[in-house]
């Protein structure tokens, strides 16, 4: 009888590289993605600003004018420029991605992505025009 063979299972050593925490700094597409996600902070900030605006109007004319005066400080202007950049970036990336989520077939033809995006932009323009008209008066 041959001696019993000792067999150890082969456990190949794989090389596994972890993801660095700042993976998104290395490539512009990834950085742009993170910036897009961070635009939500500007969105939340302005939601809070709107709450404060309504509270100021509710409190009275003095509080309303005090509130509006805060906007005039250079710090506020600077922050609002940043906020506008982020909010615009959010809007543009959102409308441009809308066609990916909505694929509509009418009979035999698929609605072209540009039409879907275009309808979103048209709605954006209309809504903005209406709000501007309401706030700035006829």
């Amino acid at each position: 009888m041959p001696a019993r063979l000792k067999y150890t299972a082969h456990r190949p050593r794989r090389y596994v590289k972890g993801m660095p925490i700042f993976w998104w700094v290395r490539k512009w597409n990834y950085s742009r993605f993170i910036l897009r996600e961070l635009s939500s902070v500007a969105v939340a900030a302005y939601a809070v600003v709107l709450i404060l605006l309504v509270r100021a109007v509710a409190a009275g004319p003095a509080e309303y004018h005090e509130f509006m005066e805060v906007f005039q400080s250079p710090g506020s202007i600077g922050l609002n420029i940043v906020a506008l950049a982020f909010v615009l970036f959010h809007a543009v990336t959102w409308f441009n991605l809308a066609p990916k989520a909505m694929v509509i077939r009418v009979g035999k033809t698929v609605v072209p992505p540009l039409v879907i995006a275009g309808m979103n932009y048209a709605a954006w323009f209309s809504v903005s025009a209406v709000i501007a008209w309401i706030l700035m008066g006829p």
């Binding site: 993801m19 925490i21 998104w24 993170i34 996600e37 961070l38 939500s40 902070v41 969105v43 939340a44 302005y46 939601a47 809070v48 600003v49 709107l50 709450i51 605006l53 309504v54 509270r55 109007v57 509710a58 004319p61 309303y64 004018h65 509006m68 906007f71 005039q72 506020s76 202007i77 922050l79 609002n80 420029i81 906020a83 506008l84 909010v87 615009l88 959010h90 809007a91 959102w94 409308f95 709605a123 954006w124 809504v127 903005s128 709000i131 501007a132 309401i134 706030l135 700035m136 008066g137």
Partner: protein
């Protein structure tokens, strides 16, 4: 091995995120331009107190504003939650992050609601 796969309840938050994304994209840019830049820099006249008060007296306006503000907050909450997972690899703090993000949005929505109701 792993527990069986089950369809998630994520659609609840994702629907709010999506609605908030649409609403914030449509409504916020013009508001930032007007209140943040055009009025303070003198390009346009600030609405006077009477007009603002009249505008906000309408329950329809206040209801719409409540909706816009709340949806914007839930949009931020969902997006920020995943930014913390992806950007800073904090998924292991999931429970804490879920409570902090959606919790703040709920608190903000309640404050907005009370503000509009008691105008």
């Amino acid at each position: 091995m792993s527990k069986p796969s089950k369809a998630s309840n994520e659609p609840f938050w994702w629907a709010l995120f999506g609605a908030g994304g649409v609403v914030s994209a449509m409504f916020l840019p013009v508001l930032v331009v007007l209140f943040g830049l055009a009025i303070p820099l003198g390009w346009v006249e600030a609405p006077d107190y009477q007009s603002m008060h009249a505008l906000l007296s309408s329950p329809v306006t206040r209801f719409l504003l409540f909706g816009i503000i709340s949806l914007c907050l839930f949009h931020w909450a969902h997006r920020f939650r995943f930014t913390l997972y992806d950007g800073l690899q904090l998924k292991h703090l999931e429970s804490l992050i879920v409570v902090m993000t959606y919790g703040s949005a709920i608190v903000g929505a309640i404050i907005a609601g009370i503000t509009m109701w008691t105008f």
